[in-house]
Every structure is written in C-alpha cells, then in structure tokens.
Symmetry: C2
Subunit: 146 residues, 2 copies
DNA sequence: CTATAATCAGTTGCACACAATCAAATTTTG
DNA sequence: CAAAATTTGATTGTGTGCAACTGATTATAG
C-alpha cells in the first residue's frame, strides 16, 4: 500500500492553468495599448461587438461575450459616462435595454484598428499555430456549452 | 477612398478573446467540484503548488502562478483561516513569508485527486489536441516573458 | 561602516466576474 | 382574461487581479 499517485495534480499537468495564465498575460500586454484609448480589456471586447453590430441588447452582448448582467451593467454605465454608447429601453419589449454606439464611440474604432496587429507581434506564434489554437479553443467552447 | 478594413477588430478574429472565455468557462466548470472541498479556483492552484513543494515563500508562489502579493496575501490568509496552511516569517530573511501545509492541508490532497479527471471529461479534447494546446500555450508564455 | 538601493509582503483602490436575489415586463396556460 | 411561469436587467456580496504605494529588512557601493 504505497503512496497514491498525484501526477494529475501537478501544476504542470493542468490544462486550465496555462489557459488562465496565458489569458491574463495577454490582457496585461493589452493594457498599455488600451490605456491610450482609455478602455479596459472588458470594455474593449464590448466595443468590438458594438463596432460590428451598431446596437445590441444587454442580453445579446452577454451571449456574445459569455458575461452576465452583473458584469455588464456597471461596465456599460461607464461606457455611457464616457459618451461612447447610449442605453435605452426597447419600445417593443420594455424589459430589454438597447445599447448603441454614439458618434464618438463609432470614431474610436479608427484608433483601435492598429491594436490587434501590435498584439499579434508579442504572442510570437506562426499562422499555423494560431489556426490550431483557434480551432481547439472553439472546439472546447462547443463541448462545454452542453 | 473607401471604408477602411476593420476585419482585425472582429470578435471572431481575436486570439485573446477565446482564450479568456475558455479560461473562465473551465473555471466555472470547476466550481461545483471545488465547492465540495471548499476551495475557490485560485485557492486550488495555490494548493497545487503547496502539495508539490510542502512550503514556499509568497514570492515563489507568485512566480509559479503569475500572481502578485495583492492577490495572494488575502487569499493565503483565507487558507490559513481554514486551517490548511501556516504563515510565518523566514528566520534567515525576515522580509520573506513562508507558507507551509498543515496536516489538514496535506490530507485535502486525497479529496482533490479525482478532480483533474472529472474536468478532463468535460473539455472533450483528444490526447493529441491536449498536447498541441499545451505546447502552443507554453510557447506563448515563453514569448511573452521577454 | 554608512548612505543608498533593492527586495519583500502588506495595504489600498479600482475594475471586473459571478452567484444569488429582486423587480418589472411579457409570455404562456388553463 | 387571469394566474403562473419566464425573461430581462439591476443590485448585492464575495473573491479575485493588479497597479501604486508603504514600511520593514537586507544587500551593496563608496
């Protein structure tokens, strides 16, 4: 009756930890770039959705970003305070709150446009690796959505 | 002089976002399992290091987990309050604080041992994909450490 | 040996994340 | 139509993350 094997508990053998560490590290790298346009990372990905769709409900935004209203509500109020978005109830369904870009929010897109390329440089992956990573992460998300 | 191209700003073309979303989703999946042993995810990865090393300084722990003292100090105080670890200053260097497992912290390892396998099932990747993912994330972290 | 620099944990303040709960509006059902 | 269930965003409380700063201790340069 020897010592049981704890290899699966080695930090090195974890799958989640490098994901978690990598994600935080990239966000840390984003910070100085995002500071320049006065956005946090979470605000930035919310703006990404708005730049694509012009206007979305909080619900839809939450689905896109996998975030709930407890995170989004205060964040959207800050974006509104900065004059980047507007928030108003839907006339069709008063429960829904429609978030839309202002002119100022719209024009911020131009300043954000160089950001992705600057970020790509520092991760140091080649095109194939990026492809693989993207595919695997997509598969994981699909598996976990059930 | 047409509309400039904003493809790089599409949420779908982001590399960081799926990493960030995936990481949070896995941690969400961990939660019910970790609740059973009364640990949060961050507390869990701190315990992983302690189960490997028996005792570490806060500084070393921070290096392992890429977390700073602002995150670790309150977290370690909670683990201490639960009776899983002890915290004492190093005699050799009074600036360093040594974190060590208690008997109770040690024995929690047995209950944690089934956790990784349960998690592996729900991510739904095959062995090769896990390998690839692991390799790519390690490479990214190395690139970014400079 | 002493003034200066570096190291380390702790504290503070801000910004998420998210579970749990709530309240208002809408949809479904009998 | 009216009661019940569902949907939706807001609120509250807990737990991170992290930058900036503090204070104590140790290392180092002159």
């Amino acid at each position: 009756m020897g010592e049981p094997c704890y290899d699966s508990l080695l930090l090195e053998n974890q799958l989640c930890f490098p994901l978690y560490a990598c994600s935080r590290e990239i966000i840390r790298r984003y910070k100085p770039l995002l500071d320049a346009i006065d956005l946090t990372y979470t605000q930035y990905i919310a703006m990404l959705v708005l730049w694509e769709r012009q206007s979305v409900t909080v619900k839809e935004l939450g689905c896109c970003l996998f975030l709930d209203s407890g995170t989004l509500t205060p964040l959207l109020k800050k974006l509104e305070a900065k004059g980047l978005i507007t928030r108003r109830r839907s006339e069709a369904d008063e429960r829904s709150l429609i978030v839309a870009l202002t002119q100022r929010g719209q024009s911020l897109r131009e300043q954000a446009a160089q950001l992705p390329e600057q970020m790509c440089q520092c991760v140091g992956l080649d095109a194939e690796e990026k492809q693989q990573l993207s595919r695997i992460l997509r598969k994981m998300m699909e598996q976990m959505q059930r």
